[in-house]
Subunit: 263 residues, 2 copies
């Protein structure tokens, strides 16, 4: 649990109380229970815990009110909830119902710093004048129809969501240049200024594409690679700007043991 804070469950109660009042209702045990999908007998002790934290005024058998503290915290949570949902729906194009569910969790756990940054990013998208929203929507539709960028459908990676024991090592940085001759990799992203990047993209150097190092000249320039069945020659700088997912791991299959066994 978050240190020095109330539990996720209590935050939920607080948020529900806030929303009920905000909507002009009085916050009754019954309504709170209904919203949280919980029995009334679970609400009473929760209210007691909230009162003990000084977040609500709780008088037995009368409606609940928020203290100043309670309002502050509730507003904070609701603000996060609504922002996260909005961010996911309007920028990332996550379906509303799903965004709602995700927001219900993130509102409790997202650090203030991350929240702040997402807000700034969101503002940036709207003010940078690059039509990022529209362009992304276009890109996404394209990807979705071809399935090209979907990690779970591309043939060499029935990864991550469903299938295999593989994972992509997002964090580590490995460039194309680090591959040994004969070694294969999948492209993670391209880290190059506009012109070079465009040239690479035009050649088909795109995320999730498999790429194989054929050979490098002694001084590292030029480099011959294989990509989508054909060969290409790249300059050293270009190869350096192509980020590869590092080798995927394969954990050894455990041999079926004996002895006391659970399951």
């Amino acid at each position: 649990m978050r240190i020095g804070m109330i539990s996720e469950s209590l935050e939920d109660y607080l948020e529900i109380i806030y929303n009920l009042i905000d909507e002009g209702n009085i916050a009754r045990v019954k309504d709170i229970a209904a919203r949280k999908n919980v029995s009334m007998s679970s609400v009473t002790p929760a209210l007691r815990r909230l009162a003990k934290e000084g977040l609500i005024k709780y008088t037995l058998r009368s409606d609940v009110e928020l203290t100043g503290e309670g309002k502050k915290l509730a507003a904070r949570i609701v603000d996060r909830h609504e922002f996260v949902k909005h961010f996911l729906v309007s920028l990332m194009k996550v379906p509303e119902a799903i965004a709602e569910r995700d927001a219900c969790i993130f509102e409790h756990y997202m650090s203030p710093e991350t929240f702040r940054r997402l807000v700034v990013f969101f503002e940036f998208v709207d003010t940078c004048g690059m039509d990022i929203r529209d362009r992304f929507e276009q890109y996404r539709r394209n990807m979705e129809s071809t399935g090209a960028s979907d990690p779970c459908t591309s043939p060499d990676c029935r990864n991550t969501e469903m299938g295999s024991r593989h994972r992509r090592r997002w964090g580590q940085v490995k460039t194309l240049l680090m591959l040994k001759p004969g070694e294969k990799g999948r492209i993670a992203r391209i880290q190059a200024p506009g012109a070079i990047r465009q040239r690479l993209i035009d050649m088909g150097v795109l995320p999730n594409v498999e790429i194989e190092m054929k050979r490098a000249a002694p001084l590292g320039d030029p480099i011959e690679i294989k990509l989508r069945g054909y060969h290409l020659s790249l300059r050293k700088e270009e190869a350096e700007s192509i980020i590869i997912f590092p080798a995927q791991i394969e954990i050894r299959e455990p041999d079926s043991g004996s002895g006391e066994y659970y399951g």
Copy 2:
């Protein structure tokens, strides 16, 4: 907890076991306990629960191994963890330690759809040729040094993180055009094609700026507004493209009641 799935805590155990094996160690109770910052006596029952779910092979007093199922799930979690962290650090510029903490939670709860979309967005950023990373970094630094975009420092909104009972209603859409004469609002974002947006930005129409409707001509065109102390005249279409945070709520201060009272 997530229906049909194991608890967050169990996912943590599974992830730790996966990582230990991945690093070439054997997964012993002692090491697992150390990583999760938990006593050894908490690990044993957790292992039993994992074995019951068919995710590990657990033989009393011998080291733990993952089943195929276990590997799949663990890899999925680790993949999410690393992606989320990478996304936050390299794109949103969240400090690494904080991103790590956030990733620890999101890995458990993020829906597959949201994950998928974030991945696609991330790829988009790298391939759209707009240098979004650099431009955002520039924007962010600028914002940070002026404090302009920080919701917590701008004078009319000691909001959200720290101060007040206010919140911004991100989800609802209210345009400048909907304000009545004399009514004030804060700009959420601008939803207009390039040229118009640029004109508005040049005039100082930026997120988090307070804006006041002065008056609108009978047919709604032109519109006179006040912004940063000076007056501006806008066309109807322009005003329509400026999204305002809807009025912020103020919950009535509860009068101090009597009766049975907790806290």
